[in-house]
């Protein structure tokens, strides 16, 4: 029996499953609720509770700046945090393809533990399934998360108001380009790392200086452009951006240029869009810049009354054009 690979028996519910759970998962993710190994985690909650879930099927599973495990924790922590919730408990479910190296799984679990520690969340329940070779792509992870919303916060994509300021917490498109470069073996002069990170610490600092933040979102798939279009639609307002203010790393800009992509449509995993009354923007911006995950923050535009549901962008030449939603898959150009 190959002891270095995941076998179907690891998902059978027998001794190997038990060993996998106790040796690899519980040991690394240990906390009182998980250690009980009951069928459900039982905890008390009061006040407004946020609950979210997401599945991670990224290819490749290891990439510059992170791996699928870190991504699974950060993604769910961020989905809770942008609602103003303080993330507390996560579930963790693996679907593993038979034959995955156990060392790869260990590496992923180590990253999950590190990301959970940084975010201050506990993995309190989980599940492991193993499927035949070819029925999954190495490993899929599902995480669900619970967080508690402090009194007085009201953050929603529907809350943007005319004259609000739009801030982003850093450079756009890093994650998508890091993944694409790794996946396709593209070598650029400057390596691009994923921005994958838990943002609850940064968001706590922002809410400390301005509990009146109207909207927060993490611009993941579809990038900045698609997320802002969703907000414009939910709030029935226009959003006008200034292209020159939007931070993009030169390496990401260069890669996008070579591939025929627009960084405003490329995915991020460690960035926030925040929309708040204009008068609060300077204080929020300086709180963001003081945090390591927000040092490149910038005010990139404002909410307007005209053109409800649409996002427009002022080009460096001074023209104003539509910034539409992404349609279809991002594909590099042919020539």
């Amino acid at each position: 029996m190959d002891k270095t690979k995941i076998l179907l028996a690891h998902g059978s519910g027998g001794r190997l499953t038990h060993d996998l759970i106790t040796k690899h998962l519980v040991q690394s993710l240990s906390n009182p609720l998980l250690n009980k190994l009951d069928d459900a985690a039982v905890f008390e909650s009061k006040g407004k509770t946020a609950f979210t879930t997401d599945s991670y099927v990224v290819n490749p599973i290891f990439f510059p700046g992170g791996n699928i495990g870190k991504l699974a924790v950060c993604g769910t922590v961020n989905d809770l945090s942008v609602m103003g919730a303080i993330p507390k408990y996560l579930s963790l479910a693996f679907i593993i393809e038979e034959g995955l190296d156990i060392s790869a799984l260990e590496e992923i679990i180590k990253s999950i533990a590190a990301a959970a520690k940084e975010a201050g969340v506990e993995i309190v329940t989980g599940d492991t399934k193993v499927v035949n070779t070819g029925k999954a792509d190495k490993i899929f992870i599902n995480t669900a998360g619970v967080g508690f919303i402090p009194e007085g916060l009201d953050i929603s994509g529907a809350n943007a108001r005319p004259d609000d300021a739009v801030i982003v917490s850093g450079t756009m498109g890093d994650h998508g380009i890091a993944i694409m470069a790794q996946r396709e073996g593209l070598n650029f002069k400057t390596a691009v790392e994923s921005d994958c990170a838990p943002l609850n610490g940064l968001i706590t600092d922002m809410l400390k200086v301005c509990p009146r933040i109207h909207v927060m979102r993490d611009p993941t798939r579809g990038g900045l452009a698609t997320t802002l279009n969703e907000i414009a639609g939910q709030s029935q307002v226009g959003i006008e951006l200034n292209e020159e203010s939007i931070p993009v790393k030169p390496a990401v800009g260069g890669a996008c240029e070579a591939l025929g992509l627009d960084p405003l449509y490329v995915a991020n995993e460690g960035k926030i869009i925040a929309i708040m009354p204009e008068k609060d923007a300077p204080a929020v911006l300086s709180a963001m810049k003081a945090h390591p995950y927000g040092k490149d923050s910038a005010i990139i535009g404002r909410v307007i009354s005209p053109n409800p549901g649409r996002v427009s962008i002022r080009t460096p030449l001074g023209a104003l054009r539509i910034l539409d939603m992404q349609s279809g898959e991002l594909l590099p150009r042919i020539c």
Partner: protein, 364 residues
Amino acid sequence: MNFIEEFRSSQSGRTLLEYINKRSTKPARFMEFCGGHTVAIFRYGIRQLLPPHIEMLSGPGCPVCVTSTADLDKVIALSRLPGVIICSFGDLLRVPSSRQSLLEVRAEGADVRIVYSTMDALEIARQNPLKKVIFVGIGFETTAPTIAASVIQARNQGLANYYVMSIHKITPPVMRAILDAGETRLSGIICPGHVSSITGSNAWEFIPEEYHLACAVSGFESLDILYCVKSLVDQVEDATPRLDVSYSRAVKPEGNTAALKIMDEVFDICPANWRGIGILPQSGLCLRPEFAAFDAEKNFEIKLSEPSRETPGCLCGEIIKGTRTPLECKLFSKVCTPENPVGPCMVSSEGTCAAYYHYGGKLG
């Protein structure tokens, strides 16, 4: 400053625009040949900043858009053959043929893969010795050398399961065809940048010499395009058509001789079927007889169950000739959208219809 920012300086751009607006007095109609230019012009908002008497038309320079339905039908037929893996570049997978797109046949179980370079396709062939890997060679002079290189590499490595379905096209003949047709009364042409980096700017000398039209080769940044428009305006105002190059950092007069040599080694010039234009002699590239072992057309029996047909009402053919704009198409943005593209000009990220759809909306 870096290699991109230098060519996007907003201050220099505004100075150029001021010059163009002052200098231009005569009505002018400029065609950007290349789809990459169309997208850049929309993305930077250049159209709305030019004087109203300057009209910018989009040309045929999108490799996906000019691929004929009949050629696509052949590719779809190949994808259905047992033991075949089809590889191609991105957008082509979404283009509807007479009946289906490659994405749709993939969903039905065909092995169709997107690759980023021909070397990826060669690797797939190496890893799947029991399968036959067909690379769909699409594009202009820009991509043809890399495909030629892959054929040579396959030969040198003795790869017996790698084939190329060549639907490559070359650009000067189609430019001549559009000018000869005389359907669009043009004042000047923005010549393609990437293509010219291979062919050399000399390939376009016939435009001012034989057709007495202004012409300039452009890169893809805002300043590249504005320099070109400035040059075209100067040529029109002075009535002195000439070949100008505002992309000299990438384009030499003689082009990339190494790339041209390898193209010539592998490909013969042959007729090609251009969507909306038809079969143009001497405008396509097919594998030379000595590379017949790698030629998909010669090694597979391509059977079409029904004759090819264009979607009724689709104006893509007219749009790539610059005789109609997407706004004149009854299907545009109603039936034909990026989510449900009817014609290739809406599919391709460099297609004119997609550019109009994404960037052309009116702001109140």
